[in-house]
């Protein structure tokens, strides 16, 4: 079980309020991703839940019991750190056994759980090595193994993939998602990478400056961002935000259109512009279109087969119902 409730949780460092009063409920078995730009307080929030930082106000409840004053070890949560935080002088086996040893668990039970975790994480061949002899991905798995054997109420991940190279990151992303499906344990995952958030989350919490901007499933956030910040943060390449007469014509301060919702034509369309840089990914091509009179640059995602050169004239047409409208405060106009 792992239902975590934050009630008016606040964090101040001296005079600086890092997290203003914040309410959030994380349901049992959910995969929740905290996402936001660096310095938005997402790691601090995770550390508050873990108990590694003291809250300045408010209450944290885990499975209905008050956990605000509990020390980290008593909260029944396991954390995977960005630097993995493996114990360098212990073998993989001892690293994984450490939390159980601290809990005074019988040796046979320890062995059983270690073997189990090693099997799940493909670590059986490495149990007697030291962390220094492992690759980044393997170290990451050891860190997860150390978390699994405790059978915690929830797993906390603090940017666990940011030290891995791109290919490994995709692999580990899948492994963590599969692990979640198999264990069905609550997971809270902190990242600044919106791709990780979109691909893994059941529920995304977008944070900015300690405030929750929006909570929702990945597709909710993608389809109906509540404000300009979420609109610009979720989706890659980022949404084109257009101000000025074109927006006013639609009774909005700003209108937004995602690059994939623009139709490209070389003969006619709603907006006219000049092709700048083209980024060919094979399946898709991203065109940077200038001189549209809408914004500095409009990004368009077109099929990989579309042939346009630098300096060509293009016409862009937004797809029906895909335009987002925002008011002066940046809030979505329904």
């Amino acid at each position: 079980m792992g239902r975590i409730t934050l009630d008016k949780v606040t964090k101040r460092f001296g005079d600086a309020e890092v997290i203003p009063p914040l309410d959030l409920t994380i349901e049992d078995g959910e995969f929740v991703v905290f996402v936001g730009p660096s310095g938005c307080g997402k790691s601090t929030l995770l550390r508050l839940i873990a108990g590694l930082e003291d809250v300045s106000g408010g209450e944290i409840r885990i499975d209905g019991t008050a956990a605000t004053e509990l020390p980290p070890a008593k909260r029944g949560l396991a954390m995977v750190f960005q630097s993995y935080a493996l114990y360098p002088h212990m073998s993989v086996r001892k690293n994984i056994a450490f939390p159980m040893k601290m809990a005074g668990m019988p040796k046979e039970e320890q062995e059983r759980r270690i073997d189990n975790a090693a099997k799940v994480l493909n670590l059986t061949d490495y149990l007697d090595r030291r962390p220094g002899q492992l690759s980044g991905g393997q170290r990451q798995r050891v860190a997860i193994g150390r978390a699994i054997v405790r059978e915690p109420a929830a797993f906390l991940f603090d940017e666990p993939l940011s030290n891995l190279d791109a290919a490994l990151r995709v692999g580990m992303r899948l492994e963590i998602s599969e692990l979640h499906n198999r264990l069905e344990t609550t997971m809270i995952y902190v990242t600044h990478d919106q791709v990780e958030a979109m691909t893994m989350a059941d529920k995304i919490v977008v944070l900015r400056a300690g405030k929750i901007e929006q909570v929702g499933t990945p597709l909710e956030l993608y389809r109906t961002p509540r404000n300009k910040f979420v609109a610009g943060f979720i989706g890659s390449p980022t949404m084109n935000l257009i101000e000025g007469p074109e927006a006013q014509a639609m009774d909005a301060h700003t209108i937004g259109i995602r690059p994939e919702h623009l139709d490209v034509s070389s003969t006619d369309g709603r907006w006219r512009g000049t092709v700048g840089v083209a980024e060919h990914l094979g399946s898709d091509t991203f065109f940077h279109v200038h001189d549209t009179g809408l914004a500095e640059m409009i990004t368009v995602r077109a099929d990989g087969e579309v042939q346009l050169r630098h300096g060509d004239t293009v016409y862009l047409t937004p797809q029906d119902g895909k335009l987002h409208r925002f008011d002066e405060q940046g809030l979505r106009i329904a």
């Binding site: 396991a78 750190f81 114990y87 450490f98 601290m102 405790r150």
Partner: protein
């Protein structure tokens, strides 16, 4: 250093330094060896006949030799244990954020800047003196008789004085090592349910093993040759209760004017120091491998 030319140029350039170092070390060593095989006593002028291993035999057969050997090991061992144990504890203490941290750190390091003769004399006259010393004043207040430290426990007192001098060194090295400990490791251990004591035992201490090795090795080199502290406090006495090998060599060559015997003692001290070094490297040298 890529080309043949630059390599040979480099050799030519460093050769004066190498030659100087060689001369600096080899000539004294050679002369010590040379004298150690002669009967060479300043009180008996005249010829210095070769006597083979006589000087070595006499030095080892001297009952003071074994006492000195044991005293040397006790002194080195005692100071190592005291400085490492207290050094670890002090380093942990100094690592805690506190008010006036900078000044406290400087104060802790200060004893290291006091030269050995001065610090030993300060301890002898101002603290341990059975009549005028601070302890002689303090102990009766606690209902105890004044204690003549340097007479009744000479070796322990010297061990204490030397430990006081070397504690800052150990603390400083261990403090820098503690500061390099990854804080996420500590937090992970905290999440894993380790108590403060377990965290110290399973995380901090293993992390410090390399620094402790460095402290032990460096201190051993200097502690094997402790001399000034003994000279100014007990003169190796009472009897030879606080005589170590260095002091015995000094007594032989400069108090008995026996150059040959002193040289033989010096060579024996070199051999013993190397034996200690081999044991140390066997025991803890593996900690230095990355």
């Amino acid at each position: 250093m890529a080309t043949q030319h630059s390599r040979s140029a480099a050799r030519v350039m460093i050769s004066p330094a190498v030659l100087l170092l060689l001369a600096w070390m080899l000539i004294p060593l050679g002369m010590t060896l040379y004298f150690s095989f002669q009967r060479y006593n300043l009180l008996m002028p005249g010829a210095h006949p070769w006597v083979g291993l006589m000087n070595y035999k006499l030095f080892i057969q001297n009952p003071a030799f074994w006492t000195a050997l044991i005293n040397t090991l006790l002194l080195v061992g005692g100071v190592l244990i005291a400085t490492v144990v207290l050094g670890v504890l002090l380093a942990i203490l100094l690592d805690q954020p506190m008010w006036g941290q900078g000044i406290v750190r400087i104060l802790v390091i200060a004893p290291f800047f006091v030269m050995p003769t001065v610090s030993a004399l300060v301890w002898k006259n101002l603290f341990m003196n059975p009549v005028n010393g601070l302890f002689a004043w303090l102990l009766p207040k606690l209902g105890m008789a004044p204690y003549d430290f340097l007479t009744q426990a000479p070796l322990a007192s010297i061990t204490f004085i030397v430990s006081w001098q070397w504690l800052p060194f150990a603390t400083l090295i261990l403090l820098t090592a503690i500061q390099s400990l990854d804080s996420e490791q500590m937090e992970a251990a905290e999440m894993d349910g380790a108590s403060a004591l377990s965290r110290f035992w399973y995380i901090t201490l293993p992390h410090l093993s390399r620094a402790i090795t460095v402290v032990v090795l460096i201190q051993t080199i200097f502690l094997l040759s402790v001399f000034a502290e003994i000279l100014v406090t007990t003169n190796g006495g009472p009897g030879n209760a606080s005589t170590n090998l260095t002091y015995l060599v000094y007594a032989r060559s400069l108090l008995n004017f026996d150059v040959g015997g002193g040289s033989a003692g010096g060579v024996i001290a070199i051999i013993l120091a190397n034996i200690v070094a081999i044991f140390l490297m066997r025991a803890i040298g593996k900690n230095l491998d990355a």
